[in-house]
Structure formats: structure tokens, C-alpha cells
Symmetry: D2
């Protein structure tokens, strides 16, 4: 019954096998090895665009490096008020950009409100040197609320940003979950929409530790800038083949989409089960592998005592709980949790928090 | 009819005279001159506390240096969502702190909502290394909305911050206006409340260009840190006596409070007059020298054509207008503006924007 | 007998008069006033080039802003190992650039050794992403050793830099002294040589506090970048007319060159006098207004007791002494010092340190 | 014949096995897993001190984070003029410290000259706020020149630094090689000498990608500071167990020392062989696993054509060549290279470069 996060699970056998296979003989270091050099072809094909690919081992690094490539230090980045880049990275984006400002945009269920975004872009864009000029819009897909932007919703945001001359970043730490749900191609969700930089995540969905910054149609200056930031940030791994091997195995033969589909299915199962439990109040629509539910405090404590793993979402004393499924989550995990939750909720009379 | 800002006016005769007087003979440089060295005594007496004083020539520098002395780069600073430090300094605080995050707190009329602040401090303070830890609360007095926090309101905010271990910064670019209105002493408004750092402003209220960071009961480490930041930021003026002379003259014999009272009186006169004009909608209570009023677009354009100077507050096409009075604003300025506004509003039938 | 620095002196009467004259009525703020707007014409004419001019009140700010406009954060800046930007600005350039590296180049008498510079540019420029790429060469004219690069020497350095694709910055905090000595025009020393950015100093040579970043043929992106850095660094003075008035008066009718010539003449007088004192060992050729001389420790102490003001150059216990003349230095100052020095040296038997 | 670097080789079987073993079931993320939590005990025992351990996957990260924990942004770090932190990390230390200055100290064979270091610490430490205050001395052991500081030499440097109030960092990316040579214990080389922070390297000596910042007797503030920097720099790996498993296996049963001894032995074999080849000029004493040799340009080209892998050290056209041995280097590799080198040198008549 471990729903703490998708990153508490081990790596998938396929990816582990690729890592072991990469551990043969000598290979040139610092990303000049064949595996790493092959990534731009692999990802270029995957996303239907000329790309630059810079592997990292954390999503925080991928996000911070992406943003720092897209904005000067004096720019304003707009993102959802609950975005990971805004709340959960201890200021990584501020650090890598040299003090850019992330400005939170409100919106339901983890998705930016288009009107609020447009108003902020308009206001900020008409002020003088006193305001930081808007430079980037960042969207997370799937979102931090476990929902998924529709292609139309994304297109509207991106078109509005482009119209104002902004660049667009996508935090794709759970991109696979979005693709598995939407059923569209990676091309549809990235290059066709006009994404400029993508944080491509693999760790939450089967890798040991492998993410990447993917720049779309990068300028020479962007490549250079990112290459140096990547190095001075300490992300140019000397034996890079071991990261690149994970990325290759991750996207090979649709491995990532299969893993993501599995996690989504478990999320849907949790959702369906919780909806049948009186007093368990779902906070957001469940569209991927994350479930947010409000439970009474005694139920939370009882479930923890029962051995269920999950995180409170917000302060330590909140009664909003996050449950995350992964490719390794089993039906039994889900059903055991639902049974326990049903029992514990019944004990408090099915009264909502 | 120039109400664009309090910094469009010339320096007061008293301060100009002090500057001329300081231009005699040699004086040691980089803040080791007698005028600068005397500031800690002068300000210590004024604020009833041991203080460190670092003169600057801009308020942006004073704010950024203050904040960077109080927080590490990974800290979160809470301020009102319309705070000057958040919106109007092009990221000066982010730059000087090395990428701290300013988190906006909502609240009416430029004043932070206490409950919202407390909730944010609680949530942020209970998260792990992923969130930036709350380190500073910054209040502006008088506020960016032209209102003034009551001593009780300030005390509640500061006590809540201190209870959570945060430090407190006051942006006092218009501190004189607040004192003139509240009728309390500088001691009451700073050291007695527990302020840790004050951005002390003189430029808007009569100086040519003179502000200061005032640290209250600074630690040795804070003094050192500020001294180096001040230097490397380019604010250690070599002929510092010319800044310090302004500061001395500014506070001498209550000059600053007289100037501020004059500006406040003109603000009140504008307020009273506008209230009599049908269709002119005041946005905030007028408690100092700034007046925010909504006017119909044709009226705004007509008043500009009449030669009135003021700023639209927000985007370039907003109908919210800011009028600022200074020590040099005359009754005639105010009355001429009111007459013009009355006439132009009548032309549109007194219909609000 | 005050030779501590050229910034211990008061402002010149001409500049003070201009400041007083500027203190009339209202003027738009933050550099939109007519005086500031006129600077680009004035300086464009002076330097024979299209320029952007951003006034500051310190030389540290002018240097740091200049460099941060010319290099990305990951670039290497080459300068003399005794350059002010390397040693005396508490890391201002590192701070404003976001962590660029200043790499010291050796060379006699404050002037970079051309071969050493070329070797460093070659080596650094052929390394991969591990080394910071060379981006800027910074020269100081007149130098920190009180010498002056010949036009030929400067041209050789600048041509070598340009050939490698680097940009060139000139620290001109004492530019007037160099011009007064060389007898060439400001055009010859800047735009004709291919300077990209100039830190233009006025404070040491008669102003109260006025310097400027002058960009030559700036790109749109450089202008924007500098404008935001200038603001967020806290250097966009609200009542900018008071800085700009100083700059205008400084260059009007050759005022700056007259002041500089006067200071140089006093430097030459000191030099000539010291050469006649047995045991006083001049460290560098005296070509401007600064004199470096080695004196025995007892003589240094005795001269201090005699009331002479000067700085030890390096550690507190060094016997290398710096004497600086300004436009306000008198023949009597110089002669009194020489008399005292002669007497004190005689007391120790004319034995060198 | 691959001597390009120690990081071109695969991971050792022991470490790969540990990684595979760690890939079982769920584990809490972001360093809260048992393997990571166990590191402080393991390293505390190893180094004979209370320590804090923060794993990273690159040495650049370990160095930059170590330095940024020890110095404020305005501090000066002294290191050898050929130190990796100075030349080879694209400004990582400048980036993480927020613009501290690395000041190069000369010295033979990669080791700082004690007198030069002392003089610089003295001078910098007696200057005012204009100079950056000396805060850290960084030593590399084994050095970038493939030599090893004696314990006495290190003690002299560290004692001199401590006397001036500086902190000491050791870049131990090849610490194992030093220990294997000196035959002393890890305690002797670190805590007994008074090291404050160690960059502990495993990647070059058998790991896939595992390094660590080790703080000795850290203060609460240092731990907090490092924890946040580690996170915001993007180095808090979510599945940290996979890094920690490598570190545990690396030091278990002396695995690291055996690997290092093997590499050193191969280095010595190269050294001995090269000494017998007329015209091959060894640049530094060979004391660890790196060999620096000057060869004529035609010989370099011929050896490359023969399939030998190595790096030119400095510019692309230098004739100084670096050869690095690792735990996986074989006697045959060495002997083949020596044979080829002997043959090629003979072809040019044994004439030195």
C-alpha cells in the first residue's frame, strides 16, 4: 500500500538491463559517447523536430536548466500557483536563471486560468524597466494536480504566450502519463504546439535517475548557453553513457507509454474505489496516476497505522492527501488500500473532513 | 498639475544647502568621513536602538540590500502582492539575495491579510527541503496603495512573523508620510515593533538622491555581509559625504516630517475634492500622499490634454490613475486639477468608468 | 599634504554650480528627464560613435554593469593582475555577471603583457565546455599603476582580442588623465580602437558622484540587458537629472581635461621631486596623477606623523606607498610633501627600503 | 592503449553488483532511504569524525557545493593555478557561491607554494571592504599534476590557513590514489589535518557516477545551507539509493584502495618505461595514476594514429600530453603504449619536443 510517490519504486527490469549492458569497456566521457550522441536522433524522431538533448539525473535540474536557457535573469516566468517549479524545487529556477521571477497564475485543478494569464502578460508587458518583462510560460503536463490539459487548452495558452513574444516550457516529469491518457503522439503534444523546451522525465516512470532537457529547434546561442550551464551546474556526468542508456531504454518500443498506462490504470482504479466510499472527497478529477482526496484526520492516522504510505499535500496538518500510483503498483495494492480506507471511514461514520 | 510621482520634484532648499556646505575641502572617502560616521549616532537616536546605517542613492538598492542581509539565497520572503519589491524593482531583491523567492500575499488596500500570511508561513514552514523556508516578512509603510498600517496591524504581522522565527523588513520609502499621519515617534514604528531592517527613504520627500539601509541591533555577521554586498553592488559611493549630508539635513529639526505633513495635506485635499466629483471613484482610503482614482478613459485623455501629470496604475490602458503629492505640491496645483477633473467628468455626464 | 586619493577632494565649482542649476522645478524621473536624454548626443559627439549612456554614481557599478553587458555568466574576462576590477571591487564583476571569471594577466607597470594575454586567449579558446570561454578583455586607462598605455599598445591588445572574437572593455575611471597626457582625442582612444564598453569616470576628477557606462554601437539586446541590470542593481536613480547634470558639466568646454591636466602636472612635480631624494625608489614611471614610491618604514611613519596623507599599496605593512594628485592639489601641497620626505629620508641616511 | 582519462572506463563489477542489488522494492525517496541514511555512519567511521554526507553524481557538483558551504559570496578562495576548480569546471564554484573569487596560487607540480599562499592571505586579509576577504583554501589530493602532497606539506598549508581564520576544502576526486601511495589512513589525511569539507570522488575509480560532499563537524547552519543548495542545484536525486549504494560498495572492504593501488601501479609502470625512452620528457614526478609527458608533435600524431588515447594538456596544439591509468588499465595497455612510444620517438631520432 505504498502511494507515497512514483519515485519510491525500483527501476524497471528493462531499464536496469540496459544499464548493465552499457557497462562494457571504455567509452569517451562527458557526453561524447555513442549512446549520448545518439539521443538527439532518438528524441528528434520521437518529437518530430530538430532537438538538442542534455541528460540530467534530476527533474529539478531539467526544469531549472530549461528555464535558464529560455529567459534572461531579468525575465518573468508565468506558471500555475501550484507548479512544481514554483513551490517544490527550493528555488532551483531562481538559482539557475540568476534571479528571474516566477509569477504564480491561479487556475482550477492545477491548470492555469487562461484569462488570468493573459491579463498578467498584458499588464507586465506594458510596464517599463521597473517590471520584469514576461519571457516564459511554463506548463506542467500532466499537472501537479493529477489532471491533464487538453490539447486545445494547451494550444490556447501557448498561442497566447507566443503572440506576446514569450517562450514556452513544458515540465514533462510525467509526460508519459499524459500521452497514455490523451492517446496522441509525442509530436502532437510538443513540437506541433510550439514548445521551446521540455523537461523530459523518466525517473518517476521506471528509470533509476534519468531526465533530459530537450530544446526544440535550438539556436546556436541557446545550445552554447545550455551546454555551459549544464556543466557549471554540475550536471555534465563524466560517465554519461549510464544516464543515456536509461533514456534510450525508456523510450524504446514504447516502454515508457506502457509503464505510464499501467500507472494511470491504477490511478483510475483508486479513483473509482474512493468514489464509492462515503466521506472521501476527491479534490481533483483523476486523469493520470495521482489522486488527491480529503479524509478526516482520524482516518488519515488510522490508515498510516495500517501501513498505508501517502503524503499530506500542503502543511503537515492538512487533511488533503496525495496518492500516487506507478508502473509497479499492483491491483492488490489499490484494493487493499480501498478496503482499509472504506473500513476506517466507516468507523468515523462516513463523515467528510 | 504635476502628480506623476513624488520624485519628479526638485530637492528642498534645506537639503540643497547642506549639500553645498558639504563641498568644502578634503574628506576621507568610501564612508569613512565624519558626516557618514555620524549617521549611526543620528539614526540610533532617532530610532531608539543601536543601528548600522549604509547609505544608498536609490530605494531599490536599499530594499535589495536589506533583504539580502536578512535572508539566505534559499529563503522565501513574504510581501503584499502589490509590493514595490515584488513588482517594481525589476527583480532587485532576487538579484541581491542570489535567487530568494518573493511570495505574494493578498490583502485589501495594499496591506497584507494577516490570516493569509499566517497560513502561508505555516504551510511553507512545515515542508521539507523542497520548499524554500520562510525567512522574511516585508511590510511597506506607508503602503503602495497610499494607506497606512495601524500600529496594531503592524504589531500583529510582526509578532506572527517573529513567532515563526522570521525576520522583518520595512520598506520605508515613504516612512515620513506614515509618521506624519500616525503622529507616533519613529521609535514606535520601528524598534519598538521589532523591525530588523528598514529601507529609509529621503529622495521622494526632499532629497536629491539619498536612502539608507538601517539595521537594528545588527550582528557582526550581518554588518560584514551588508558591508560587502553594499560594496560589490556598487553602492559604496567614494565621496559618501554628499549622500550623508542629505540624510543628516533630512532628519534635522524634523524637516522630513514637515515635508511629509505638507504632502499628506495635499493628498487629503485631493481626496476631499475628488469625493465631490460624481463618477470619480476612489480605489483606496487616502491616508498619506497618494490618491488612486478610477476615471473614464475620455476623462483621462482630456486631463492629460489639459496638462495634468499622473500615471496609469497597472497596464497602459487601465483607467485606474495614481496621483502623488509632494512637499512641493501647492494648493493651486490641487485645486486646478480638481477643477479640471470636475469639468471633464461633467462632460461625460459624471458616469463612472 | 593629502595624497590619499583623488576622491577625497570636494567637487569642482563648475560641477557644483551645474548641480544647483539642475535643482529647478519638476523633471520626469528615472532617466527620462531632458538632461539625461541629452547625454547620448553629448557622448556620441565626444566619442565619435553611436552610444548608449547609463549614468551611475560609482565606478564599481559602471565596471560591473559594463562587464555584465559584454559577457554571459559562463565567460572568462582577462585583465591585468592588479586591475581594479580584479582586486578592488569586492567581486562586483562576479556578482553582476552571475559568476563570470576574471583571469589575471601579468605585465609590467600595470599593463598587460601582450604575449601572456595571447597565450591565455589561445589556450582557453581551444578547450571544451570545461573551460570558461574567453569573452572579454578589460584594459584600464590610465592604469592602476599610474601609467598610460600608448595607442599602439592598446591597439595591439584590442586587435588580438577582436581576432579571437572577444569584446573589449575600458575602465576609464581616470580616462581624462590619459587623454591629457596622450594629447589625442577621446575618439582616438575609444571608438577608433574598437572599444565596446567604457566605464567613464568623473568622480575622481571633479564630480560629486557621477560615472557612466558608455556602450559603443550597442545592439538592441545589449541595451535591454543593460537597462534591466542597471535597474535591478539599484542604479536607476529616480532623480537622475542630478547625476546627468554633473556629467554634462564635466565634459563641457573641456573642463575634465583641464582638471586632469592639472592633476597630471602635480604628479609630474612629485615625480621630479622624489627622484632627487636619495633612497626614495619610484616603482613605476609616472605618467598621470599617481605616484608609487618605496620608502623605508620609519620614513612612512614619520611622514604620517607630519600629517601627510597617502595609502600603503598592498598589505598594511608594505613599504610601497601610493600618492595621488587631483585637480585640487596645489604646488604647495607637493612641495611641502617633498620637503618633508627629503628631511625624513635624510634622517635615515637616504637608505632605500 | 586508452589513457584518455580514468572516467572512460566502465564501473567495477563490485559496484555494479551493489547497484543491481539496490534495485529491489520500494524505498523512500530524496535521500531518506536506509542506504543514504547509513552513509554518515560509514563515512564517519572512515574519516574518524562526525560528518554530514551529501551524495552527488559529479565531482563538479561536489566541489561547487563544498565551496559554497564554506564561503559567503563575497569571499576569496585560494587554490593552485592549475586546480580543477579554477580551470576545468566552467565556473561551477563561482556559480554556486554566488560569485566568490578563486584566486590562483602558483607552485611547482600542482602544489601550492606555501610562501606565495601566505603572502596572498596576508595581503588580502589586511585590506578593507574593497578586497574580497580570504575565506577558503582548497587543496587537491592527489593533485591535478599527478603528484601527492606529503602530510607535512598539507599540514603546513592547512595550519597557515587556519591561523588566518580560513576554512579548508580538499578536492578528493582522486583521494584513493593519494591514500594508496601515502599508506596513511583516511583519518590522517582529513580530520586529523583539520579539513572542513571534502569532495569525495568515486566515479574515476570504479563507480558509475557517485561522489559526495563530506562536511567535517558541520554546524547546524552549514548543514541547512548545504541541504538547500544541494536541492536547488538539482542534486537531490529522488531515487538516491542508487547513488548511495555505489558509495557504500566503493569503500566496503577497501575496494577503493585496491582499485587505486592498481591504477597507481600502472602509472608507475608508465613512468618507468617512459624514462627509458630518449626524448620523452616527464613534466612532473609520477606519484599516482597520471603521467604528464612532453612529446614531439610528429610522435603525438603517430601515436594517435597507432590508436593510443590520451589528452593534450592545455591548448589543442600543445605537446604536453596527459596519460591516465585506472583500475581497469592492464599491463598490456601500458606495455603496448611504451613500445609504440619508443618506436615513434626513435623515428624522430629521440629528439625532445
Amino acid at each position: 500500500m505504498n502511494f507515497r510517490s512514483d519515485n519510491v519504486f525500483a527501476a524497471s527490469p528493462e531499464i536496469m538491463a540496459a544499464l548493465v549492458a552499457a557497462n562494457q569497456g571504455a567509452a569517451t566521457s562527458y557526453g561524447t559517447d555513442p549512446l549520448t550522441k545518439g539521443l538527439e536522433k532518438t528524441f528528434g524522431d520521437l518529437f518530430g523536430s530538430e532537438v538538442a538533448v542534455f541528460p540530467t539525473v534530476t527533474g529539478t535540474a531539467a526544469n531549472a536548466l530549461s528555464l535558464a536557457t529560455l529567459t534572461p535573469a531579468y525575465g518573468a516566468i508565468f506558471c500555475h500557483e501550484e507548479a512544481h517549479i514554483y513551490l517544490e524545487e527550493a528555488g532551483g529556477p531562481e538559482f539557475y536563471t540568476g534571479g528571474a521571477k516566477l509569477m504564480p497564475i491561479r487556475g482550477k485543478h492545477g491548470q492555469m486560468d487562461l484569462a488570468a494569464l493573459k491579463e498578467m502578460m498584458h499588464t507586465a508587458g506594458t510596464r517599463s524597466v521597473h517590471w520584469m518583462p514576461p519571457t516564459v510560460v511554463s506548463v506542467t503536463q500532466s499537472t501537479e494536480a493529477g489532471t491533464i490539459y487538453s490539447l486545445d487548452a494547451l494550444r490556447a495558452i501557448i498561442d497566447a504566450a507566443k503572440e506576446k513574444g514569450l517562450r514556452v516550457h513544458m515540465d514533462g516529469s510525467r509526460l508519459g502519463n499524459a500521452l497514455a491518457r490523451l492517446g496522441c503522439s509525442p509530436v502532437d503534444l510538443t513540437s506541433k504546439l510550439g514548445i521551446d523546451a521540455l523537461s523530459f522525465g523518466a525517473t518517476k516512470n521506471g528509470a533509476l535517475g534519468a531526465e533530459a532537457v530537450v530544446l526544440f529547434k535550438p539556436t546556436k546561442e541557446q545550445r552554447e548557453r545550455l551546454a555551459y550551464l549544464h556543466k557549471r551546474g554540475g550536471h555534465l556526468v563524466s560517465k554519461m553513457r549510464f544516464v543515456s542508456a536509461q533514456l534510450e531504454a525508456y523510450v524504446k518500443d514504447g516502454h515508457w507509454l506502457q509503464n505510464a498506462a499501467r500507472a494511470n490504470t491504477m490511478g483510475a482504479r483508486l479513483d473509482a474505489g474512493l468514489k464509492k466510499i462515503p466521506g472521501a472527497v476527491l479534490e481533483h478529477p483523476v486523469e493520470a496516476n495521482e489522486v488527491f482526496v480529503r479524509l478526516p484526520e482520524p482516518v488519515i492516522k488510522a490508515l498510516q497505522a495500517d501501513g498505508a504510505g501517502f503524503a499530506r499535500w500542503g502543511a503537515i496538518d492538512t487533511t488533503l492527501v496525495r496518492l500516487v500510483c506507478s508502473f509497479a503498483t499492483t491491483e492488490k495494492d489499490v484494493d487493499d488500500f480501498l478496503a482499509a480506507a472504506g473500513k476506517r471511514m466507516a468507523e468515523v461514520g462516513g463523515k467528510a473532513a
